[in-house]
């Protein structure tokens, strides 16, 4: 069942300048076929919105139609810069994001370690179990924490039943700690995936060699597993850190009146205040702050050195 084309000699098909050009064209068209859809997607839903947002942030006021009567100005930035409480909130949000990312990474590392080295034939099943929470809506998962932490919630009821407390603890819900706790829970599966990928890439022969040379499991972990999984750990950290700075849904639901994050202020200016220019200026500042933080972090860590 061989076709003439398959049996024809390679030299006949690919030899000669014309065929080479054709091959180049094929390669080029394959490139565009593969890259065009994501490029269009990124252009439409990432690049254009960001450019629009940047443009809006330089609009002086909200009066007049959306794309008419543009008075350019820096006054939105001036407003943000002059308002100390926005900067403070950006700082608080960054710290919260830092706490959430560190905790999520630390908690998901053993999970990934187990999945990579000890799950055996059931690895696929465990991976599905890890991802099961994603089958329910994000909102539902956050609401579930409201039920856990409320004054008549699961934790309070349990503690009162056991007799540890007489009155329900009111400090569980509606504050920053509740936001951090909920976010850690939400992010753990996300953080586990890049760490798992990094652990799975480690060559088994390295462990065998280490064992031959007399390294105990503790030393094997500290000298081989941990260093080689660090790129995945840092990827997980940034995957959690960057979106958490701008988080606004979780604080809205479990944060109460004192648990707001910077993202809530941005959301307010877009949806509650119809003040897109100011919201855009706040967003651009957050974008810049995030980029600077990530830049500093990558400078401090130097991933290339870790890989060597």
């Amino acid at each position: 069942m061989t076709t003439p084309i398959q049996t024809s000699p390679k030299s006949a098909r690919f030899g000669g300048g014309a065929s080479l050009r054709k091959r180049g064209r094929d390669r080029l068209s394959t490139f565009w076929i593969l890259y065009l859809p994501p490029l269009i997607w990124l252009g439409l839903f990432f690049l254009i919105p960001i450019v629009l947002m940047a443009a809006f942030s330089f609009r002086a006021d909200t009066y007049g139609a959306l794309f008419e009567n543009w008075n350019l100005g820096l006054n939105q930035y001036a407003t943000v810069i002059a308002t100390g409480s926005y900067w403070r909130l950006l700082g608080v949000s960054s710290l919260m994001a830092f706490a959430v990312s560190i905790s999520a990474v630390v908690l998901s590392y053993p999970l990934s370690y187990f999945l990579a080295f000890h799950s055996g034939k059931r690895a696929g099943l465990y991976l599905v179990l890890l991802l099961v929470p994603f089958w329910t809506s994000y909102l539902l998962r956050v609401m579930a924490w409201k039920i856990m932490l409320g004054t008549d919630g699961v934790i309070n009821s349990l503690l009162m039943y056991v007799g540890v407390i007489k009155e329900p603890l009111e400090a569980l819900l509606y504050n920053r700690n509740a936001v951090i706790l909920t976010l850690i829970y939400v992010w753990i599966p996300f953080a586990a995936l890049p760490i798992l990928a990094a652990l799975q890439r480690i060559e088994w022969t390295l462990f065998e060699a280490a064992a031959d040379l007399g390294a105990r499991p503790y030393h094997q972990f500290m000298r081989i597993t941990l260093p080689l999984s660090l790129p995945g750990v840092f990827a997980a950290f940034f995957m959690v850190f960057i979106p958490t700075i701008g988080e606004y849904v979780t604080p809205l639901l479990v944060g109460g009146s004192r648990g707001f994050m910077y993202g809530n202020i941005i959301q307010d200016f877009f949806t509650k205040a119809a003040n897109w220019p100011l919201g855009s200026a706040l967003s651009m500042i957050m974008l810049a702050a995030t980029l600077i933080l990530v830049f500093i972090a990558t400078r401090l860590i130097k991933l290339e050195d870790l890989l060597q």
Binding site: T62, Y63, G64, A65, L66, T79, T83, S85, Y86, R88, L89, G150, T151, D152, E170, Y174, L252, G255, G256, S257, R258, F260, N264, I265, D268, F269, F270, T271, K272, A273, A274, N275, W276, L278
Partner: protein, 362 residues
């Protein structure tokens, strides 16, 4: 030569044919189709819940062949932002406070009230709310109160002032609506200020008051179900609320009362507007006319506990709970309220900024 001429003939023929087709499409029918046969498409930009058929049932029954599509806006600013961004909805549903912008920005068409058969059932004071610069731009439709809703078992002495929202006695059990302009309204009531003429000094004082209030406030509520749940569980004892929450909680057997503060309740009215430039103006008018009909109005009263601008609907209420909700036993109740005035764009921006700073404060 010959072929060139024949081409011209064909082209002329095509243009003629096209013109005939176009004019046939554009020509108005000599007599309008009967309501049952009228076809068309309408798009309504409305709040979640109002898209249910119960709230436009008269139109559905009268014009069964017209397709009505709904887009959902989550708040007044959201609806305003959508319309400003060029949303193609034929009809939209803003509330008092947010009406002037639509006229200023040329987003709303004047209402030809002569075509509304139910217009005479709307009292004049409601009609006035839909008038801006002497023209009827909006059809008033639903209305209600804002006041303090409280748990009678937790606060047996009752609430007689808006200042209760800032009373340290209730620390940790207060819930304010997450809305800057409403915070300005409440403070204005407490101080006896004219909320349409708030000075920068007064706004600074209002901001500080609400920053202080935050220590007492458990959570700012965004949607009514959230408030219902927090009050039913006993976490929240008193809250800024609409009467929809009051009626819902009464229905659940939660001991609640709706305050009549000495500074008076606030009241608001929802209106419908027709987008300027819509091709479905006549159909949109028919929709709004049927919105004012009795069956639709009854559903709003019975299901959402909001008032109808159709006086026949309100006069027909016999249910004692509903009478209490609307304070219909008090014939002067609407004089005992403060209607939400229209705010200017400058006030809107200043007040929403103030509220963001309250929420961002340490």
């Amino acid at each position: 030569m010959k072929s060139k001429w024949s081409m011209l003939f064909i082209a002329r023929g095509l243009i003629l044919a096209l013109g005939l087709v176009l004019s046939a499409c554009g020509a108005a029918p000599a007599t309008e189709a009967p309501p049952g046969e009228l076809t068309g498409n309408l798009t309504v930009l409305d709040w979640a819940g109002y898209d249910a058929e119960d709230f436009w049932v008269d139109f559905k029954n009268t014009y069964p062949k017209v397709t009505v599509n709904f887009e959902i806006g989550e708040s007044d600013p959201d609806i305003y932002a959508k319309m400003k961004a060029g949303d193609q909805a034929d009809i939209f549903h803003p509330y008092t406070g947010w009406l002037q912008f639509y006229v200023d920005e040329g987003l709303v068409e004047e209402i030809d009230t002569s075509k509304l058969t139910n217009w005479d059932k709307v009292p004049d004071y409601f009609k006035k709310i839909g008038q801006i610069d002497g023209k009827q731009y909006f059809v008033p439709w639903d209305w209600g109160f804002s006041s303090i809703l409280y748990r009678t078992d937790k606060i047996p002495d009752g609430i007689d002032s808006w200042a209760a929202l800032m009373d340290p006695k209730y620390a940790g059990h207060i819930s304010m609506w997450d809305d800057g302009p409403s915070a300005v309204t409440v403070s204005s009531y407490i101080h006896g200020w004219d909320e349409t003429k708030i000075t920068p000094d007064q706004l600074a004082q209002i901001k500080q008051e609400w920053i202080d209030q935050r220590k007492l406030n458990l959570t700012y509520w965004a949607g009514e179900p959230e408030l219902d749940q927090a009050m039913a569980s006993g976490d929240v004892w008193l809250a800024y609320a609409w009467q929809g929450a009051y009626a819902t909680l009464l229905g659940q057997g939660v001991p609640v009362a709706y305050a009549n503060p000495k500074e008076k309740r606030n009241s608001w009215v929802g209106v419908y507007g027709i987008r300027k430039g819509t091709k479905n103006y006549d159909l949109a008018l028919k929709f709004l006319d049927q919105k004012l009909a009795v069956a639709t109005g009854n559903n709003v009263v019975n299901q959402f506990y909001y008032g109808s601008s159709n006086q026949d609907v309100m006069n027909g209420i016999t249910d004692t709970t509903l009478k209490e909700v609307f304070s219909l036993n008090d014939p002067n109740i609407l004089q005992h309220t403060n209607f939400t005035p229209n705010v200017t764009a400058e006030q809107r921006d200043a007040w929403t900024k103030m509220w963001a700073e309250v929420k961002a404060a340490p």
